[in-house]
């Protein structure tokens, strides 16, 4: 098994093939849309998807910071050399496909990746790797607030709504919004990103959260932010993930994705 090659392939795939669930949600939004101008935007988005996949070029020139999420199984020997192989695979994918060097260091040197890994361990076997190219037009709109335990749902809703209002149309709507609730402050934001890596065309397995997500979609779309003009849906899906936290607070992280929500996952057995 050539790990580097496998990673190279999914790093390319993540940037040129729009996720199946994202396509489903876009199609559904187009089907429901009545405004001709908004329909036109959806059609252009879909045409973009087709061209990227046929021509094997990136969906968006911002191929992001290629974030790596790892789920490390009990039989996986996680060490520096494994991380290096994965990183080399990402770089090789970006280089081969002609993706942009969007990473810069303090000396002004450009590169493909800052090597950001989010690692969790599982009792299952094998290694699950997700490459999540995060564009910075949307990342720039991220927000975090730590609420007191007495916070009402409405207060959390208002914070999320304000975050989307602040993003306005800068982050390429219609958006997908990941919400992380729990952990510590930084963990809540990682959780929000993990939420965006889930299949968003399926309802949240947690029924209560699924209901909350639905009500948030409704509230945000009634703000009338729109896509270019103030027409059309601003958000296509919200996904909330929860995690245990300290008794003294409720960290809430919000991560926005543009309509070209990209990620690719591979499961590797050793």
């Amino acid at each position: 098994m050539n790990l580097e090659k496998i990673i190279k392939e999914i790093a390319i795939k993540a940037n040129i093939e729009l996720r199946k669930d994202v396509k489903i949600l876009l199609k559904e939004a187009l089907r429901k849309e009545k405004n001709e101008k908004v329909k036109k935007i959806f059609k252009i988005i879909m045409e973009n998807t087709k061209i990227a996949s046929q021509e094997r070029i990136a969906l968006c020139q911002d191929t992001g910071l290629p974030l790596v999420f790892l789920e490390v199984g009990r039989d996986v020997n996680l060490n520096y050399s494994l991380i290096e192989k994965i990183n080399k695979g990402v770089i090789s994918g970006y280089k081969t496909a002609g993706f942009r060097k969007s990473t810069i260091d303090k000396e002004g040197k450009l590169s493909y990746t800052p090597k950001i890994f989010h690692i969790e361990f599982t009792s299952a076997k094998g290694l699950k790797v997700t490459i999540f190219p995060k564009g910075f037009g949307s990342e720039a709109k991220s927000a975090l607030q730590v609420f007191p335990p007495s916070a009402k749902r409405e207060e959390i809703d208002n914070f999320i709504i304000e975050t989307v209002k602040n993003a306005d149309i800068d982050a390429c709507p219609p958006y997908f919004i990941g919400i992380g609730i729990g952990g510590d402050a930084s963990f809540a934001l990682v959780l929000a990103k993990k939420a965006l890596c889930e299949d968003l065309s399926r309802p949240n397995k947690d029924k209560e959260l699924a209901k909350w997500e639905k009500s948030l979609v409704k509230k945000i779309n009634s703000l009338g932010i729109g896509i270019i003009e103030k027409k059309g849906p601003t958000v296509l899906a919200v996904r909330i993930k929860r995690y245990p936290t300290h008794i003294a607070g409720v960290p809430v992280g919000v991560n926005i994705s543009c309509h070209a929500l990209r990620s690719a996952t591979v499961k590797i057995n050793f």
Partner: protein, 172 residues
Amino acid sequence: MIIRLKTPLLKKDLVKLKVKDEIYLSGKIYTMRDRSSQLLVELIKKKKKLPIKLNEQVIYYCGPNFKGKTLGACGPTTSRRMDIYLERLLKEGISATIGKGERNLFVRDLCRKYRSVYFLTYGGCGAYLRERVKKYRLIAFPHLGSEAIYEFEVEDFPLIVGIDTEGNSIRG
């Protein structure tokens, strides 16, 4: 109805445009981003020779991809970040800018003052927009990578008037 325009863009044509108008632009446009805007403005301030003639030209906020010599995705980036450089470039005579997203409120005043237009194009659709770029040429600052200034020769590049010469914004 889609209005067809050619670069260089003249003020007398720009003043006829109103927010929400849809345009197909053809001709030469110049890419710019954070660091290329900054370098260009530094050259202007030092009264140095500029790598491009800015008068009546159109700036496209974009950092494209290249696969070898072939142009890849080349959609718009968030314009707001380049607002601080705008007035200096307007003084040099640029006629319009293209990007995505809303801009700071002062840009509306600048558009009115200099009779300039801010166009929006489709964010996150870099592969689609590439089809409308027929040729490209490196103009300046190659060490900046995707942030270098490129000349794009575009044909029917789709735009929507975001801010018109009266300072009206599509965002209200």
